[in-house]
């Protein structure tokens, strides 16, 4: 197989990876231990594999690994710190929005891309950004309230 080396910023660190030409970013990440990125369809419809690339949420099962070259990629491993989860994770936990949790990392990253762009999204913006992430456990109700909670927090200037 003809290997190729690419480099990109992963969770704030610049990294080099050997890739196979047909490999997707999802496969590359998981092969290298970043298994926080889950997968449910491998065809861009469930959003479980969502990562953030240059500020946009993307389905890593559709992105070829080589397309990450020179980009800035954030995965779930890049969020929160050892003691404290990211505020989006915190809101999902508090609202009871994590059932099986398989969709959660993807949800968190779609939400992060949204909040980074629009700190206080209106309902339609939330629908637009979160529509690509399927969850079969929650009926989305508590995920929805977690999104509203984060938004409300931003509206109060970041204070809870």
């Amino acid at each position: 197989m003809n290997k190729k080396t690419i480099s990109f910023t992963l969770n704030g660190e610049s990294r080099e990876f050997d890739i196979d030409p047909n490999e997707r970013l999802l496969g590359l990440l998981r092969r290298n231990g970043f298994k926080g990125t889950k997968y449910g369809c491998l065809e861009g419809t469930c959003g479980a594999c969502t990562v953030i690339m240059d500020g946009k949420a993307v389905d890593s099962c559709l992105v070829f690994a080589f397309q990450a070259h020179g980009r800035n990629v954030v995965t779930i491993e890049g969020l929160g710190d050892a003691g404290t989860p990211h505020e989006i994770q915190q809101a999902l936990i508090e609202e009871g929005a994590v059932q099986c949790g398989y969709c959660t990392p993807g949800m968190v990253l779609s939400a992060k891309a949204m909040f980074d762009e629009t700190p206080t999204p209106d309902d339609e913006t939330i629908r637009l950004h979160m529509d690509g992430n399927l969850c079969r456990c929650t009926g989305y109700e508590k995920i929805w309230s977690a999104m509203k909670k984060v938004s409300a927090k931003h509206e109060r200037g970041g204070k809870r």
């Binding site: 298994k35 065809e43 099986c100 398989y102 959660t104 399927l134 009926g139």
Partner: protein, 776 residues
Amino acid sequence: MTSVDKMKVVHHSVRKVDAEALSRGKHLFTGDLTPADALHIKMLWSPHAHARIKSIDVRAAEKMPGVRCVLYHGNVPKIPHCTAGQGYPEPSPYDTLMFDTKVRYVGDRVAAVVAETPEQALDAVGAIKVDYEVLKPVFDYDEALRDGAPIIHDEKESYVPIPIPYEPQKNIVAKIGMEAGDFAKGMKEADFTFDQVFETPYAQHCPIEGYISWAQLNPYGRIVITTSTQVPFHTRRIVARALDVPVQKIRVIKPRIGGGFGCKQEMLLEDVVALAALRTGRPVLWALTRAEVFRSGRTRHPMRIRVRYGVKKNGDITAIGLDLINNTGAYGGHGLTVMSCAGSKVLPLYHVNNIHFDAKSIYTNLPVGGAYRGFGATQAYFAVESMIDVMADKIGMDPLAFRKRNHIVSGESHPAFEALGEGKPGAPMTIGSCALDGCIDKGAAEIGWSKRTPPGSKTGRYRRGIGMSIHMQGSSVPEIDMGAASLKINDDGSFNLNVGATDLGTGSDTVLAQIAAEELATTTDKFIVYSSDTDMTPFDKGAYASSTTYLTGEAVRKAAAKVKSQLIRVGAEILRKKPEELDVDDAHVVTKDGSAKVSYKDIALRTLYETEQFQIAAIESHVTHKSPPPFAAHFVEVEVDMETGKVRVIKYVAAVDCGTAINPQLSEGQTEGAVLNGISYALTEEYRFDGMGKMMNASFTGYNILTMRDKPEIKTILVPSYEETGPFGAKSVSEISINGGMPAIANAIYNATGARVYRAPFTQERVWRAIQESKK
């Protein structure tokens, strides 16, 4: 009623024990735990709905790069078994071989290639040569039951392990029925009679994590299977049978599960990964693609249900007749039990003295039915709760008042509880807790039932309507299923709680820890919960039949009570008191007068290291004698586009009596997930087949499960009751609320348009046609 107000842990929305780790994407799922050097499996699936394998040549495939072995009917044990994860012996036919010389649906197993990479395995699958003798397939109910129909299971080997009706030569998997009173007489006594047929489609559970399993041999040659399953213990037993190896040789580990909803109450991949690991000596992974999950995974049984009812003008229901045909597809696991529950979880809801129930499960050459949240009750409720509205309409009674007048209440029993069991008679039961009237009242207030207007009064293109339905389910399979728990103390006063119960995302690890914490008067965070691992945890039947909280929860409570008495015994020695003078509070053994106390930690240190040493620990089991139903009243408001037939759900209210909600937030979550799944099942979800029996829409986009954009406002109202036989008054909650989507929405569509739909899902076209029909 015992008060839950004094409880400190139970009935509180304690944070789910695994939520943070899951939200951080930690390596908790089957696919995250697979060794890097694992081999991969790809299956050659049958392209035919019904065919005999005349010959199969795997030699070329075996020689392909990276291929380590090919498994097919010629080189594997051929032991009939049942893949359904049920108690033993199963009330289901042993009609399945690991690999067979006959294929019975598009997506049936033909041969498995085990190779270094998935790509190599897939290439080799393409190199397997199979010569099929294509047989005439059977795709529908009438064809399956026709005299002279092709026989799907014509093999000699298949049999039922317990004496239940099994007539494979007629394509009949199972039959069950009951008669009470005199149905014909009841129909004669009625002022109005009704006879209507309803149909429900094939549906799939769609957990976001599909089926995935891997196996490896440990250094002693035992087979260790890590798998996304709801039934680790049943899986161990079934794999042992299918492979003809002792149960002792197998360990099944269930890590975190990415959803199941019933589809993982099945041994689906584990036999193949286990055998492949045995043959190759290497770890072997098998993960199904989404299309494979749809085609070769388990499904919700489609049903055709004929309902007959007789009703008097005063609102008395004089007779009910349910004749249903349940399509189990190519194999018969769950065939009996699903249709039994279509009766036993539905018929008792209303007072009717004259009852006829007749159900058949049939084989077809279509995908295989399995367990799915709601378990047969969901299908039957569509028919029954639609007809309740039809009858109310006919006699000019408010459907809410009609339901209130006729539904079962506390203290009553029903013959169906005993008549309809799971391969043996069911358990007779008197209803204990029942807050159904409260559910109806609270739900009605929330949806604005009093403002509901009749269909005739509506005009315009977009018309709104309100509908309702009421439901019951069960909690565990009484006198059949067992759950157990073990509990031991550690140096610091923390506890290991080991349960075979299978948290598949429901939060049962948290709920069980809460039950233990309440009994031991400490906090949930003091429990290290481990579930479930056949080597390490006690037996549990697994996560199904709405049983974990009610059944395993009581085993946990009993184990905690035993540990409590041990703590008190040691505490009595330390405090120089009599045990009767002591109680537990805030992780201490305390004197009832509050004058002295000793901490669990100090008791643990003493018993582990100092004086009269022993391990404070207990193991307890529980079997239930009842399956107390949770109750629910569902209300929905919809808007129907009269020109296109498009239905939009505006608001959905689920008022649920689950006894004591051990964790209200998790109970709400169970309800909301079930509700949206029910709406999705009602509006969009169905398998579409080509003329050859192949599912055509085998993807999330083609099958179309609802997204956040489609979500209406969902309002859950937990209406408390106290079930004396459950842990701290709890009943089940997870299944019941999937049952409302179809009937409540069908009733709301009628209320909006005057048109009734009898066939689900309610696609634009079906609703549009019903509207045209109603104008005639």
